[in-house]
C-alpha cells in the first residue's frame, strides 16, 4: 500500500496554472526527487501536500487518509513534515524550544492541566524535554540547546530545521532544497546525512533540489516539472539523458 498517492493534482493561482495533472505514488522507504527550472511548481506541490493551499483539483491520500481540505497542523500530526527553501526557524526562540514546539500535537494535556501544573502535565513536559534533547544529541546540536536559533551558523540552522521536522514523528519528510547555498563538499556531507536520517528514522523522503549531483546521487526516482507539468519521470540515468529535460533546462536545440 503506497504511503502517498497523488492523483491529478492541479492548482491555479487565479488565472495562472501552477501545477497540472501531477501524479505520484510513493512506497514506504523511497527517496524520490522533484526537479525542474525555477517556477516549475515544485514548492507549490509541497504546499499543496502540507495544506498551505487547497488544490483546485486532485486527490492527495496519505496512508489511507485524504489530506485535501485538512488544516496544516492536522496534516503535520498525521506524519507529514517538511523543511523550507529559505530556513524558517523560530529565530528568537531557543534551539531546544524550536524542537519542543513541534511536539505540540503529541502532548495530551489540556489548558486546565497546564494552568494548574498537574502531575500529568509535568510528566508530559519532562518527557518532551528529554525527547527533544535526545533529538538534538543525535543531530549534534545539543550544545546549542539554550542558544537562540538565529545564533547558529547556517549549516547548523539547516540541521535544526530537520531536527524540528523530525520531532513531529513524521513518516514522510519533504525536503525543499536542503542543499541551497552549500558548496560541493557540504552538499556531499548533506547527502550522507539524509541517507542516515532516512535509515535512522525509517522515513520516506520527497526531495526538491537544484544541485544535480545531490539529486542524481540520492534519488531512486526523479520527477521533472516544467511550467507545472510533469515532463519526465524515471531513474536518474534516464533523466540525465532525457531530451525534454535537457530542453527545459538548457533551451531548445541544445539537446545532444
Amino acid at each position: 500500500m503506497p504511503l502517498l498517492q497523488i492523483e491529478g493534482l492541479t492548482h491555479y493561482f487565479g488565472g495562472l496554472r501552477a501545477v497540472y495533472d501531477f501524479n505520484l505514488e510513493l512506497e514506504p522507504g523511497e527517496l524520490v526527487g522533484i526537479i525542474g527550472p525555477n517556477g516549475a511548481g515544485k514548492t507549490t506541490i509541497f504546499n499543496l501536500i502540507t495544506g498551505v493551499y487547497v488544490p483546485t483539483r486532485g486527490k492527495i491520500v496519505f496512508d489511507g487518509t485524504n489530506l485535501v481540505g485538512l488544516p496544516s497542523h492536522r496534516i503535520a500530526s498525521l506524519g507529514v513534515a517538511r523543511t523550507f527553501q529559505t530556513i524558517r526557524l523560530f529565530r528568537d526562540l531557543t534551539v531546544l524550544d524550536n524542537v519542543r514546539i513541534a511536539h505540540y500535537s503529541q502532548l495530551r494535556y489540556g489548558v486546565a492541566s497546564a494552568i494548574a501544573r498537574t502531575r500529568a502535565f509535568l510528566a508530559e513536559e519532562d518527557r518532551v524535554r528529554e525527547r527533544s534533547l535526545e533529538l538534538l544529541r543525535m543531530l549534534n546540536l545539543e550544545r546549542y540547546a539554550s542558544l537562540p536559533a538565529r545564533a547558529l551558523p547556517y549549516g547548523e540552522q539547516r540541521r535544526l530545521e530537520i531536527a524540528r521536522a523530525l520531532a513531529c514523528r513524521p513518516r514522510l519528510l519533504l525536503l525543499d532544497e536542503p542543499a541551497a547555498g552549500m558548496n560541493p563538499g557540504e552538499a556531499a556531507r548533506l547527502m550522507e546525512f539524509i541517507q542516515w536520517v532516512r535509515r535512522e528514522f525509517s522515513l520516506t523522503i520527497l526531495l526538491i533540489e537544484h544541485q544535480m549531483r545531490v539529486v542524481m546521487g540520492l534519488c531512486e526516482r526523479i520527477m521533472v516539472l516544467d511550467f507545472g507539468e510533469t515532463i519526465a519521470h524515471g531513474p536518474p540515468e534516464e533523466i540525465r539523458r532525457h531530451p525534454r529535460v535537457l530542453e527545459a533546462y538548457l533551451g531548445r536545440g541544445t539537446a545532444l
Binding site: 511536539h103 497546564a114 494552568i115 528529554e130 549534534n140
Partner: protein
Amino acid sequence: MHKTSRKPQLIWWVLLAFLPVTVVLPELGLINPYLQQVFMYVGINIILTVGLNLVNGYMGEFSVGHAGFMGVGAYVSAILTVWVLPRQYGPFLFPFVLVAGGLAAALAGLVVAIPSFRTRGDYLAIVTLAFNMIVKSAIENIEAVGGPRGFMGMDKLTNMAWVYAWTLLTLYCVRNFVYSRYGRGVLSIREDEVAAELVTVNTRQCKVLAFVIAAFFAGVAGGLFAHLLQFINPRSFALFPKSTEILVMVYLGGIGSIGGSVLGATIFTVVLELLRPLGVWRWVVVPLTLVLLMIFRPTGIMGLREWRPFIPPGELLRPAPGRQEVKAGAPAAD
C-alpha cells in the same frame, strides 16, 4: 532523566505570604486610604497588562482595544451586584461576581479571536479597535444601564486583599500558560505562523486561548475597578485613555515578559499619580511616552527577558558539563 520538581517554587509562597499583610494593614489603619487606592490601581493595571502582554507581546498580535473587555466585565459584575444579587451577600459572592464578569469578557474575547484567524497586523488592530468602539457605543445605547451617563450603586467590595489575591492568581495562571505547549504555540505564532502550523501547532486553538484568557482577566480587572470606584461609564473603557494606557504599560514594561508587565504597570500607575499636578497635560505626556518608546525602545524595559523567579525550574537548562563527545550518530551535515 531530569524530572521537574513537583513543588511550587519559593517565589509563590513568598508572594502568598504577603496576602495576610494586605488584609491586616488597612484594618489596623496603618496605611492611608489614598495609598490603598494607588495599591489597588497598581494591582488592577498589572492584571490588565499581563493579559494584554499575552496577546501583543508573546503572540505578537495587534490588539489595541483591550479596555473593551474590561468594560464588559465591569458592567456585568456591576449589574449582578446592584440588581441581581442580594446586597448582604455581596462580600461573599464577590469572587463569583468577578468570575462572571470575566467569563462575559472571555466570550467577547472569543468573538474577537475569530477574525484573528485570517487577519493579522494592521487589520487586526482595526478589528480590535472597532470592537472597543462597538462595546462603548453599545453601552451608550442601553438606557437601562444609564447609557452615556453611567451606572452606579455598587458597594465598595474591592479591597487590597482581593486585588492582591487576584493579581497573584493572574500572574500564576498566565505564567503557567506561557510555559506549556500553548505558550510555546503562542510564541511560534509570533515567530512564524505558517511554519508553526506545519510543525503541528494548532494556531487557531492557541489564538483563541490567548485572546480568551487575556479577556477573562481584563473582565476581572473591570469588576474590581467597578467595585472600587462605585461608578462606571462607557468613557472609562474607551480607546483613550484606558486602552492606550494599557498599551503603554505593556510596551513600557517589556513585551513577552510577565515581570516586565508588573514593572510597566507599577511604574506607569505610580508616575501617573505623581504627575497629577500637571492636570490635563498628563494626557499629553502619556501618548508622547508611547511614541518615544516605540521609536527608541520598542521591546520595552524587560523586552523578551523574564524575571528569573518567574521561570519554572524545568525551563532552565544547566549546560551539560564535558558532554562534548560526538556520538556515533549523525554525520556532520554542514
